[in-house]
Amino acid sequence: MMGNKESFIVVDKVSFSYTGEPGAKEETALDQVSLTIEAGEFVAIVGHNGSGKSTLAKHLNGLLLPTGGDVWVAGMNTKDEHHRWDIRQIVGMVFQNPDNQIVAATVEEDVAFGPENLGLPTELIRSRVDEALAVVGMSEYAEAPPHSLSGGQKQRVAIAGVIAMRPRCLVLDEPTAMLDPVGRREVMETISRLNEEEGITVVLITHFMDEAVKAHRVLVMDEGRIVREGQPAAVFQEIDLLRELRLDVPPVIELASRLRAKSLALPEAILTVDEMVTALCQLRSGV
């Protein structure tokens, strides 16, 4: 209907206030946030609890509607009721607590929940469910009851439940916050694979900076605003800003900055242990 928005997702000067109990002060959760996301991108959003990250995420598929400004998904305005279900099918969401998003009592029936809601024919649901479970590596658990799974497995089931609806974008709201390291790794690998191999756009909200460095682009949020935006290498270089917001500074980046302060000529784009090893070895051999 509206072809004027070129990008896949456009967030245009969006403000949002939670209206609490009558008489209570309105709380501004988003303050004139603008942002575009291109198809196929991997965007990470970091910031504290209460910085507006989750509120922003819920705007991307119309679970919340802006009190000011507009959100466009594939040219459709989320305020337009006719497109509500199209938008939710295009932009799938995965939440923090794996327990509270699994509806059904077996894995495969849960994954089928979305396609069932879309009214797809039975045979098609079957193939979508099987495919989605294969993508997240949970095929062998198809008939297991969710409460018997580990946190990481549950979260992969939740992802499969969304994937089965064939979304073009996956928004994940702190999907690893409640997981142990094994679970976190499983989920992060799944997310990366979906982005790289299936071409699914990923918006990842996280507290873990080591997850954010894997993104193409990082947004830092504070008090309902985007305060920094850029490639991880650039954003994480701003150690003072991260410190001021009391976000974690990834140790490798802190080390790089300290070494640079000691006049070592290290390149800017060091984010991982391996990149640091390579850079140091080059330096040592005098390249």
Binding site: H48, N49, G50, S150, G151, A177, M178, D180, P181, V182, G183, H207, R246, L247, D248, P250, P251, V252, E254, L255, R258, L259, A261, K262, S263, L264, V273, D274, M276, V277, L280, C281, L283, R284, G286
Partner: protein
Amino acid sequence: MSIEIRGLTHTYNPGTPLARTAIKDINLTIEDGETLAIIGHTGSGKSTLVQHLNGLLKPTSGTIKVDGVDINQKGVDLRSIRWKVGLVFQYPEHQLFEETVWDDVAFGPRNMGLSDEEVRSRVERALAAVDIDMALAERSPFELSGGEKRRVAIAGVLAMEPSVLVLDEPTAGLDPRGRQDMLGQIQRLQAERHLTVVFVSHNMAEVATLADRLVVMERGEIVMEGPPKTIFAQGDKLGAIGLGVPEMTALMAKLREKGWDVPDSVLTVEEAEEAIMAVLRREARVGTGGDL
């Protein structure tokens, strides 16, 4: 106060098809005043182990002695053990129930049958210890932020003034700021109150900064035990059971593979910087003064 664990085995649902031995033949002495971290995968038996420390679970076999007293002996009042060994569960904020923060924190001391005056002073001390402003005391705990709720819940255990504080994943699910605060508070408590602290964690950086000693669990058994530097120096062994090491330790290991002469006991960024600079200085690639 020390805790001595000898030959501890616990089997859930014994004698049924669902029987599962969660920990077997655990021998461990927790020394007075130390900070001990227990690491391992989910399902490695960490939570089962810590629930024995205050008698919430009874051993299938083996003994636990708190301050020399076998807590599962007949005639031992388990509640009095629970005053001494305070256990904070995972996500403790989910256990808050009273109408006010004050009453919630007072729950433990009141169960102990203390005088009103003693209850009051304990609640005040406990809230101060976790940096909760007294102005919040009359509020409902459910109105607080996530991090505050957790601190109130921990105050509820601290108010019993235990000598041993056991925490099951105290920083799980917190944002970086909440995590940093929590770690600082545990450290301070340990120092000020001469508490013995036992905590379960998945975060290796956290463990490296906080713990005097590590216990690594795998499939219900203790597979490694020692100071963080010694344990993390054995990155291969940890890797084999799927556990990581702090990022700086991993960096040093990779540098050593490339022929760098750096120590394997590096845990922090400062130590890593030192080690790298030392190598480069020796090779005179940079000046000895550092800042040129």
